[in-house]
């Protein structure tokens, strides 16, 4: 088990502005932990997290795997929270740093999913792995179908679970094209 990072710098005021992590048992982190040995074997160098919120996933995971963590979020409060979470957990060798959101536009699931599907293939390195956090209402079967039909990306559901009020899916797919990002996490 990867030790829980210190999130004491975040207050309820922050949680009004950024997504609150649902305790230490984040489904995404569980999925990453389950794949830890495979991930290590692929010798990744870069992890890109899109929609980093409080920054706790990259901060957690940085304890298990030394990588360059690039965190983006469209929400400026989340950028600051991610940066603060990285600093609070200072003994990390590679602290996650925030980057302002990659895309403007609506934050509803489908628009963002479409954007991501157009780009994911070109972003992943040959051994790259991609994890997608989706809600039940994002229509997971349709996302998977689209990934397969339009982008020839075969996905699998590695975790599905109720987390608080939400029902979450973690999808996983691997990249084929050669590029510079080795690992990517996306929260819808």
């Amino acid at each position: 088990m990867i030790p829980t990072p210190d999130l004491s710098h975040l207050t309820s005021k922050d949680y009004n502005l950024v997504y609150e992590p649902a305790g230490p048992h984040l489904p995404l982190l569980d999925a990453l932990e389950a794949d830890l040995e495979t991930l290590k074997g692929a010798e990744p160098r870069i992890c890109l997290e899109i929609g980093s919120g409080s920054g706790c996933v990259s901060t957690f995971f940085a304890r298990a795997l030394v990588l360059l963590y690039i965190c983006t979020d469209i929400n400026p409060h989340a950028n600051r929270a991610t940066q603060a979470t990285g600093r609070q957990n200072r003994r990390l060798q590679r602290r996650p740093g925030g980057i302002g959101g990659a895309w403007a536009g609506g934050w509803d699931g489908m628009e963002v999913t479409n954007k991501f599907l157009e780009q994911v293939e070109g972003l992943l390195s040959e051994n790259g792995r991609f994890y997608l956090v989706a809600l039940k209402q994002n229509n997971v079967p349709e996302i998977r179908e689209r990934m397969l039909q339009r982008f020839q990306l075969k996905s699998e559901i590695v975790i599905e679970r109720r987390a608080g009020r939400e029902y979450l899916y973690i999808l996983h797919t691997s990249g084929r094209d050669r590029h510079r990002v080795d690992m990517k996490m996306w929260h819808l």
Partner: protein
């Protein structure tokens, strides 16, 4: 945080801006040097990901001339330490990154770069 390791991966993504859009040029920067633990394996492993000329040129613009024009074949400790410093210890806290092609300006405030584009600039 904007360090040169991150800067070396960023290109302009304005709609239609596909050539000469890398590396972004730093403008009006405020730098902070923060020591980071030296991990030779990490630095060595990252080397194949790096656009060497862009890194050397950018480091020189920021006043660091420790890296050679050509990437050396022998990776000795001195070289790796210089590379470690350039990649991971120079933090751009304030300023902007400007696209050499379309001149779009990506501001940096409190160490956070804003890569967000307006609706009409998105591909």
């Amino acid at each position: 945080m904007v360090r040169l390791i991150t800067h070396n991966l960023l290109a302009c993504h304005v709609k239609g801006c596909n050539a000469n859009n890398f590396p972004l040029e730093f403008r009006n920067v405020e730098l902070e040097i923060r020591e980071a633990e030296f991990n030779p394996d990490f630095v060595k492993g990252f080397l194949p990901k790096i656009e060497w000329k862009a890194l050397v040129d950018t480091a020189r613009q920021l006043g660091d001339t420790s890296l050679p024009e050509e990437q050396p074949e022998m990776l000795d400790d001195d070289f790796l330490k210089n590379l470690h410093h350039v990649l991971l210890e120079i933090h751009v806290e304030e300023g902007a990154m400007v696209c050499p092609n379309c001149k779009h300006e990506y501001p940096i405030a409190s160490g956070i770069p804003n890569m967000l584009l307006a609706e009409h600039e998105i591909a």
